[in-house]
């Protein structure tokens, strides 16, 4: 259950931050920092509202997910992509290495990896482009053959 809540926080955090950044035009820094301050401040003031595990981890998942929402709309404009990056980020966070525990910027690195992974998805569709190209070539050849047949008739 706790894991599902963290996944929800990851997806919601990235989408909320993106909405504040792009739709409300507050800029990436304010979108990430202000939302993080609200969430972390709320849990700081009410530490017994949720389980200790969630009280400890929700702020980390939220700030990391909010970095995803800092992306420019020119680079990634799909809400589905932003949500997917939030999901990937939460998955990385849940399995993050203890070796880098306490290193500043580790959450930002996870967010960056998540965004880069999502941004690479359109480039995986190159085979389809080749297929479309191949189909167009076939059509061109067949059209030429048909024209020849029509001329003969």
């Amino acid at each position: 259950m706790d894991m599902l809540i963290l996944i929800f926080v990851g997806i919601a955090g990235s989408l909320l931050s993106y909405y504040t950044n792009v739709s409300l035009r507050q800029g990436p820094i304010r979108a990430s920092a202000m939302l993080t301050m609200i969430v972390a401040g709320f849990l700081y003031l009410f530490p017994n509202l949720l389980s200790p595990y969630l009280t400890k981890n929700i702020p980390y998942v939220f700030i990391g997910a909010s970095f995803i929402g800092m992306v420019s709309s020119h680079q990634l404009s799909s809400h589905l992509g932003i949500g997917l990056a939030g999901l990937i980020f939460t998955f990385i966070f849940l399995h993050t290495s203890r070796f880098f525990d306490g290193f500043g910027g580790a959450l930002g690195t996870s967010a960056c990896v998540s965004i880069l992974a999502v941004m690479s998805i359109p480039f995986l569709k190159t085979n389809r482009k080749v297929t479309i190209g191949f189909l167009q070539l076939r059509r061109l050849v067949f059209r030429k053959k048909r024209r020849r047949k029509i001329r003969r008739v």
């Binding site: 304010r30 920092a33 399995h95 580790a106 960056c112 998805i121």
Partner: protein, 185 residues
């Protein structure tokens, strides 16, 4: 011109290596779970694809102004002070520093300098989020933030508009400083 190209590719290489090392550490600790191992391998391939094909870098290599990068140590020291001395927690401290920095351009809306400083201060806040186990005092944070500031200056045209850029730079700055201190000791 050639120096700019060397610097550019060195930095891109460093950023890729640090991200790959980060994923490698997860892979190493979760080798008993095949699904996680497959996921990490897939992520590594996808980020490599993005590095090669996605338009994430500007063609022209640009540099940030040194006074803009001066915001990095300021953000780092304030954030570190807030979470170690006032015990506000690392996330809340970074949130406070970032929110305060985001209102600085409102002082003078025509100032180009003030419009660029919030990103540098927020980047510094990530350095300041380092725990006491890694950063053994303000001197480490100052050293790591200067290292991050240098990286911020030279990476202006890299990862343009990508979320997590500032965090990755902070992570690289902290890791390099930690490695340097470890080697010196």
């Amino acid at each position: 011109m050639r120096h700019h190209q060397i610097l550019r590719y060195t930095l891109i290489g460093l950023l890729f290596i640090i991200q790959l090392l980060f994923l490698l550490a997860i892979f190493r600790e979760n080798m008993q779970s095949p699904w996680i191992a497959v996921f990490i391998i897939a992520l590594s391939i996808l980020i490599l694809l993005s590095y090669i094909r996605a338009p994430i870098h500007h063609d022209k290599h640009l540099y940030d102004h040194i006074w803009v990068a001066a915001g990095v140590p300021i953000g780092a020291l304030i954030c570190y002070y807030l979470h170690t001395q006032l015990h506000l927690g690392t996330v809340l401290s970074a949130g406070i520093v970032g929110t305060a920095a985001s209102f600085l351009p409102a002082i003078n809306k025509n100032s180009n300098y003030l419009s660029q400083i919030p990103a540098a201060i927020y980047c510094g806040a990530f350095v300041g989020m380092s725990s006491g186990g890694i950063a053994n005092g303000f001197s480490f944070i100052l050293a790591a933030s200067i290292c991050t500031a240098v990286l911020l200056i030279v990476s202006k045209s890299l990862f343009s508009g990508i979320g997590g850029k500032l965090g990755t730079l902070a992570f690289l700055g902290v890791s390099l400083t930690y490695l340097l201190i470890f080697l010196i000791k």
